[in-house]
Symmetry: C2
Subunit: 688 residues, 2 copies
């Protein structure tokens, strides 16, 4: 892909002398940014632009130009691409809109484009985007006029679906004075998509931080895998999460909506930082360019007691621990103060100090403390102090780097001064404590996850053969699993099921009832009756044989002469109900989920989910982030329940989903969590 | 208070020729901003500063100077104030720190200061703040150097506890190009506090919008009442909400923490806009300077489809309805377009249009639609477009004003251009769709509340005399209410209680059991046993007389010969459990609360609360914002429960709390909500 980002020659197709022509701007940008390769121009009519001849046909070009940038009416694109193929061009950036996102006809055109590309081995960026920006070599081809000097070369690369958003990020990073390496506007992602570009950026030595803006995520599972393969931080801004945005996203870049809860869980698992909006993205980029926050202990230094309070509120919200500064620390810094007006609190109020050298000494002392993982330094200056503050900030930068701890600098001053500082000093500046603390939390979580989340999932010994046989039979008969088969499958995978027996004759009831403690439940086993509870196929709380026989008869009548069996199951009266489940997401593949059982499910509509396979800490996290954890830890002095057993069931379910792609979904509802153990009471297993 | 904000003469006390002297800066600011009154200087040593003599004693001044601004060591303040009193100075702004927020000794000094002030009738601003800023007359007395030209005269006034935060707001508003009327840094609020200043600003013709920053709120109930008395929007940034910030706030401005959930509810009730951070404050100020959003229907216009999607996500999050643009609308604007590349969707993607006159025409058409309440206009420009955009923004301003609908303009461009636009055009500019939509939601909610929330609470006919007698008796005996008295009190206020009978002899059980349907519960009535359930004083599910007699004996043994009664109550088996409660907040007075009952309380730790009295819509809101609403609406096909009856109970409880200040708290737990009716099953009522 180096050829695409560092071409030696490029042809811009669609250029005319008409001042309204957009492809002209592409050429202008290449000149403006002093692109270091050869430039050719092709248009409908002959002409001269920027001293270059406009050819009227691709066929007039020499062979083997590296990249074609195409901005013509959509209907012309297939013919042009065909010509490019003949001329051995291997990369085409198609900026033209009016394809799949616009109409049926456009969708047809797109298919044609893809067919031609495959035929000639051409790889395509777009269509319907603004192409590529590579700050390093000046290969900058948006059809929007950009100006040199507004952006610095740097270490952040951006992948964005939409052209407008690409530009928004361009401005955002420029305004934050964060240097850019590469930007790709991926458009409709007809051929190349985020996974391809991401793979390239991960090995690109110019890129240290990767930002991605997406409206749709088709290859979610791959994204996770690729993201896990690198230590470069990845920040994702995923839009198109609501009902209202679905339609417009489809019209915009032909994007289909994802299940956002799955996206959320998957990103967590892959340690991808999720930015909810543009500002959060900017904050994340800023903080990830500093040393990481390796723990949870924060010190707040502030020139204003009031703002220190705002910061302390926010620190608590983000789960930071304010590191207690000791008497010893106070003694050490006491010598710096002209008077002891300052108390050794955290936040440390510097309000009564007017000598900035002291700030630096104090900051240095705080950074030296072993237990301190990061600093919020809230500074403010007006008038003459502004100049001293420039030196101060330079020192802050040095100290953060020397101690390898992040100092998030939040600076209140006039706009003009801020603009100056940002340009002059290569250090991220925040303007609000809330932003600075959000950013520090991103750094902390990112570091923590890198160290915890990459552990392997466990592999339990299971009866794989038995499971396979059960699934094969159902598959052959083109049906889902029967209740009894579902139970057998769970047991084959070591997930305990509440004691049950299967009978096919009423006469067998007596013997079965003798074996079991009452009360029991009778459940129908039938191909015809899938929602057995709603149909009356489940009868609970049966204490005696006579009751059981009566229930048997009721169920028999229900089946209307069809073949059926009866599952007699011991009622589990103790414990609390939860749900374990699994399904397949079109983008992310197998998902496991956990949540409150019974009526809670409907009241609180909450469950936690993860992409399978999960490791132990993932399973534990799932359980502890659900409200169900409060139920399981024991309420009102009840003893705590067996969360360990539940965790193991969840891990085993994850393993099952990975082993058998033919399972579409599993619903173990409820699982009863007991003081010792956790058993499945009912289950449905659907096949693909 | 006009004399304080518009003094004809002021004396600055604490000035010296020493360049490190801070009181000098106060005088400098008065000169810089061309304060239109007489200025006197007092200091320890004689001297000349800015052409004025520094007197060495207040006693040397003429009588009747309007305001003294004091910045000397704390210990000198009482003496100076005494001298001010003798010279008939009636207003003192004390900027000195080192009082209650610093030490025990400082607290003593503060008391002394207050005593002297009372003696002479001096009203005090501060201590421990940076005083007052009045942009109109140049009465600007912070001890931090400010520069003319950085801020415009305008309609926003700010009350802030902390000096640093006052300055932060000063910068924030300057940077957003929002004009300022007055700022008060209230400091320790020894004498004057937010209520006093707020009353003044409400009648101040220079002030249209009031912003308040508080670390503590001692007179919460008054704040609500004062806020309700005006239509001027009030925005509150309340800090000191966390555990960690409590200590630092106390050290900073001697602020005590409030119960933040009560604050949250109270502000909602008073239609005070709560800003969670500085940015939110800025957003609120910006939007409230535009015409209000009178409904929930939004149209998003965007130059970028991608950003339109981000905006649509955010619009949904904020509960907006995207107004569907019709075919008719499409036809009306079709004539403007050179081609039909644009579809009549909402968000409306303007990406393919490059003529800004069309933008204005389309915006005008959209604003004309009756059902549309507000617009998010997402614009972006680079290069030459920037200049055309200036005209565009001017037109946006005119259209918003002409149609009296808010157009939140979100503009992506380079920093320099943004800075220019902000200075040149008096129209609020947002830089992120998220900010713009948050702001529009503030406008919508503010308008809606103004129209809905000011309805009176109902006044039910109740047996006030009976209630009074019950409370008087308990009060005289210095105890809380007995269970039976609590039930009687609720009944006197029309809150139904599940059928019960009180007996004092075992022999009466038989007759009572005959009268009631079983099962019943036996509950002890005793002065000694307050937590009756935990002590075994409640025995449930009694079906027969023999069981009842056994239970009676058990309870009798529990009371160990003390006087006791037994309450025999019918068990309410149907319905769902909720809690109604009430208590008194030190700042806001009587509070009512509602939440899930039973084990849910502990699992979900959620309840909704309001300051009493509440009106009907307040009570309905309380119920519907609780998770309990899902339970009450009927789950799994169960019939819906009597939310109307529950609402009435809540309103009656509110009335009870207002009528009897001697009630400290009420806990009706559970209330059973039935298909018809809602009855109290247990209750505790504590007296002050």
């Amino acid at each position: 892909m180096d050829q695409l980002f560092y071409p030696k020659s490029v042809v811009v197709i669609g250029v005319s002398e008409n001042p309204d022509n957009l492809a002209r701007i592409i050429a202008e940008n290449l000149f403006e940014f002093q692109f270091n390769g050869e430039i050719f121009l092709v248009g409908k009519r002959e002409g001269i632009f920027l001293g270059r001849k406009i050819c009227t046909s691709v066929d007039d070009l020499k062979e083997g130009i590296d990249v074609a940038v195409i901005l013509t009416p959509a209907h012309a694109v297939p013919g042009i691409l065909e010509a490019c193929g003949r001329k051995k061009i291997r990369w085409a950036i198609i900026e033209t809109g009016g394809f799949r996102e616009y109409s049926e006809e456009g969708a047809g055109l797109e298919k044609e484009v893809l067919r031609i590309a495959k035929k000639w081995g051409i790889r395509i960026v777009g269509p319907n985007g603004i192409g590529i920006i590579n700050v390093e070599n000046g290969f900058i081809v948006p059809f929007v006029k950009l100006k040199r000097g507004t952006v610095n070369k740097g270490k952040v690369s951006i992948l964005a679906q939409s052209g407008g958003v690409s530009l928004a990020y361009f401005n955002l990073l420029a305004s934050a004075n964060v240097g850019i390496a590469k930007i790709v506007s991926m458009g409709n992602k007809l051929d190349l998509n985020e996974i391809d570009y991401l793979r390239y950026l991960i090995q690109d030595p110019q890129t240290d931080i990767i930002g991605i803006y997406l409206e749709s995520l088709e290859r979610g599972r791959e994204l996770i895998e690729v993201a896990r393969s690198t230590l470069k931080p990845i920040i994702l801004h995923k839009a198109n999460t609501g009902e209202e945005s679905k339609l417009i996203a489809k019209l915009h870049t032909a994007a289909l909506a994802n299940d956002d809860r799955v996206v959320e869980a998957a990103l967590k698992q892959a340690d991808i930082v999720r930015a909810k909006d543009f500002r959060a993205f900017g904050n994340a980029v800023k903080i990830l360019s500093l040393p990481p926050m390796k723990g949870n202990s924060l010190v707040v230094l502030s020139r204003s007691g009031g703002i220190a309070i705002v910061a302390a509120d926010s620190a608590e919200k983000h789960g930071f621990r304010l590191f207690p500064l000791t008497k010893k620390f106070q003694d050490r810094i006491a010598s710096f103060f002209r008077a002891k007006v300052i108390q050794p609190t955290n936040p440390l109020d510097l309000g009564d100090l007017f000598d900035f050298d002291l700030y630096i000494k104090i900051l240095d002392q705080v950074l030296r403390i072993k237990g301190v993982d990061g600093i919020l330094f809230q500074h403010g200056a007006t008038g003459l102090e502004k100049e001293y503050s420039r030196t101060l900030i330079q020192k802050v930068k040095e100290l953060s780097s020397r101690h390898q701890k992040p100092v998030a600098l939040c600076y209140f001053t006039e706009d003009e001064e801020l603009a100056f500082i940002k340009k002059a000093l290569d250090y991220p500046i925040f303007t609000e404590p809330e932003d600075a603390l959000t950013a520090l939390a991103v750094s902390r979580d990112h570091y923590r996850k890198q160290n915890v989340m990459r552990k392997k999932p466990p592999s339990y010994p299971v009866d794989h053969g038995r499971a396979k046989a059960l699934l094969k039979k159902a598959k052959r008969e083109k049906r889902d699993l029967l209740l009894s088969e579902a139970f057998e499958l769970l047991q084959a995978y070591g997930i305990p099921v509440a004691e049950y027996h299967v009978i096919y004759r009423k006469e067998d009831l007596r013997e079965v009832m003798k074996k079991m403690e009452d009360p029991v439940a009778l459940k129908v086993i039938s191909l015809k009756i899938s929602h057995k509870s709603d149909m009356g196929g489940v009868i609970l709380n049966i204490a005696h044989l006579s009751g059981a026989e009566e229930a048997y008869e009721k169920i028999r009548r229900l089946t209307r002469g069809d073949r059926f069996g009866i599952l007699v199951q011991k009622m589990v009266l103790q414990g609390k109900e939860v749900i374990l489940g699994a399904r397949r997401d079109p983008s992310f593949g197998p998902i496991v989920l956990f949540g409150l059982g019974g009526i809670y499910v409907e009241i609180f509509k909450e469950s936690s989910l993860r992409v399978a396979p999960i490791n132990r800490s993932g399973a534990e996290e799932m359980i502890s982030e659900s409200k169900a954890i409060n139920l399981l830890k024991g309420v009102r002095g009840e003893p705590p329940l067996d969360i360990e057993a539940l965790t193991e069931n969840l891990l085993r379910l994850s393993q099952l989903m990975i082993d058998f792609p033919e399972i579409e979904g599993v619903d173990i509802n409820p699982v009863k969590v007991l003081e010792k153990g956790a058993v499945a009471v009912d289950a449905r297993i659907l096949l693909t």
